[in-house]
Amino acid sequence: MRLGARAGLKPAKPMRDVFGDAMLDLCRQNPKVVVLDGDLSNTTKTLGVRQEFPERFFNIGLAESNMVSIGAGLADCGFIPFVTSMSAFLLCNAYDQLRISIAIAGLNVKVVGSHGGITLGKDGPTAMAIEDFALMGGLPTFVILVPCDPASMHKAVRATAEHVGPMYLRSSRVAMPHIYPEDDCPFEIGKANVVREGGDLTIIGCGLMVAAALDAAAMLAEEGIEARVLDMHTLRPMDTEAIATAARETGAIVTAEEHLLHGGMGSNIARIVAETHPVPMRFVGLADTYTDSGDPDALLEKYGLTPQDIVVAAREVVAAKGA
């Protein structure tokens, strides 16, 4: 079944196309925004910017390290550089540059990693970013944003430009269904959105897994379990208050992310839960493994990232809560 169908969510176009639209809108609005590309503008969908604003678009070629440090120089000149490529290639090739040229001094450079998670599918594990939350989490000054639908992508791109300082934004190849009305999405950096109310447990998701969480909540409701669902669109700074409130009010938490469990969103939430209001928790995400190449839905199923996986975790955590 299509992701989001159980929850009645409307299908949308691929997130990278939404990102391309949002990036072009931003360039139209803000003349200080420039785009750096690692020769993947047709993949990340910044091609529209190249066509409409060639003077503010630089293809740096297959040289991510160079590209990131060039971004630092442009930021010093008062521009708002968006450094864009496939997340896995960008972060892994240029981690030293992200750290030295940008993070330590906290420069106003925006890093957009496309094709986050495993749902890029058939290009396989070399191209998948399953470790981007952990990598960017290792750079203390970076704000980390993970939009979950078209409206939140548009808001996230705008917030990325408006917030002064280093930012990481995850984009994806896959289509994520509409969680929010098309032009009406609350988006405040560091403030999670409650997208479904419920008192029996809280499912905290980001990116694609927000839709999966809402599907799971619909399935759980049929069993009489009412799940609250949080869209954790900002991984740093993380919304400690929303997490503590969820723990206190619902007494059980499941996290769901299209990322390695090691160093991902869930482990950071667990730290906050442990410090504020310890409750039973379960974690849906990738175990310590690299996946196969394949159809995105088949991969989500094989590696345990479906609504059904969240349902199983939810049942366990609710049972543990009652024990």
């Binding site: 070629g61 390290s65 440090s69 630092a72 000149c77 550089p81 540059q97 750290r99």
Partner: protein
């Protein structure tokens, strides 16, 4: 300090920079004195010999020429130069590598005025400089961007990514200077990871190449003025230097790379610098 072409004054400036580097690193008990010594005349020419346009009371002056210290381990030299140039009080120098001091072991942008880039993992300077070149074009400004590289640093792949791109973008206001002292941390470059034919590599990447005696202040000034006239391609100046220049027993021992002189050694070094 006002800019000057008066050679004795510049030589005296180089001498006092060496003494400051010596005192800073010996006081800190660590640091990179020999890598700093080898670049003294290069930075003297840039900052005090009329090459670099800057306002130390307005560090972010948009039209300033940029100086990017890519070989970040020469931080003591950079700090001494910035203090002498009036960016901050010279007393700060004696807090090098101490807790609660902004005079970090390697330069961190934003912690002291005049530091244009963070360095200390190597290879980044040309790339950051190219960002300043592209940004300057969009802002309609005509400043120059100078980048000081170490020779061992040129083993980093990013240097050559940036070399390709700077030529592609015809960055003729970008000038790299290599402190070519022929030693990297572990030993002679020719033995550890040979760079020669070095000038030919840069030429093959589309750069204009000059070579100069990196301790001859007048020659450095003349070379840097000459490359200002180069059009349509970036320039690199291979400055042939001596690691540890100015102190005989440091020149003779490359293991001073990441090691400060003891107070006793420093006294001998001071005498040599004062007499040299």
């Amino acid at each position: 300090m006002p800019q000057t072409l008066d050679l004795p004054v510049l030589k005296e400036k180089a001498r006092s920079l060496r003494l400051d580097i010596l005192d800073m690193t010996t006081n800190a008990g660590s640091g990179h004195p020999s890598s700093s010594f080898s670049s003294v005349e290069i930075l003297t020419a840039l900052y005090f010999g009329g090459i670099l346009r800057y306002r130390s009371d307005e560090p972010h002056w948009p039209e300033r020429d940029r100086f990017l210290m890519s070989k970040g381990h020469a931080a003591p030299l950079l700090y001494a130069v910035l203090a002498h140039a009036g960016y901050f009080d010279r007393e700060k120098l004696w807090t090098l590598r101490q807790v609660d001091s902004p005079v970090e072991g390697h330069p961190v942008q934003g912690r002291l005025p005049g530091i244009e880039t963070t360095s200390g993992s190597l290879g980044k300077g040309i790339s950051v400089g190219l960002g300043h070149v592209l940004g300057g074009r969009m802002n309609g400004l005509n400043y120059r961007v100078y980048v000081l590289l170490g020779d061992g640093e040129c083993e980093e792949g990013q240097i050559w990514e940036a070399a390709i791109a700077a030529a592609h973008f015809k960055a003729d206001n970008l000038i790299a200077i290599v402190d070519y002292n022929k030693y990297q941390e572990t030993g002679p470059i020719s033995r550890e990871m040979a760079l020669e034919p070095f000038a030919e590599k840069w030429r093959a990447f589309g750069w204009h190449v000059e070579e100069v005696d990196g301790h001859d202040i007048q020659a450095i000034i003349e070379t840097l003025k000459a490359v200002q006239e180069v059009k349509g391609q970036p320039s690199v100046v291979l400055a042939h230097t001596v690691k540890g220049k100015g102190v005989s027993f440091v020149e003779a021992d490359y293991t001073f790379h990441g090691r400060a002189l003891t107070p006793e050694q420093a006294e001998r070094a001071r005498e040599e610098i004062l007499c040299g």
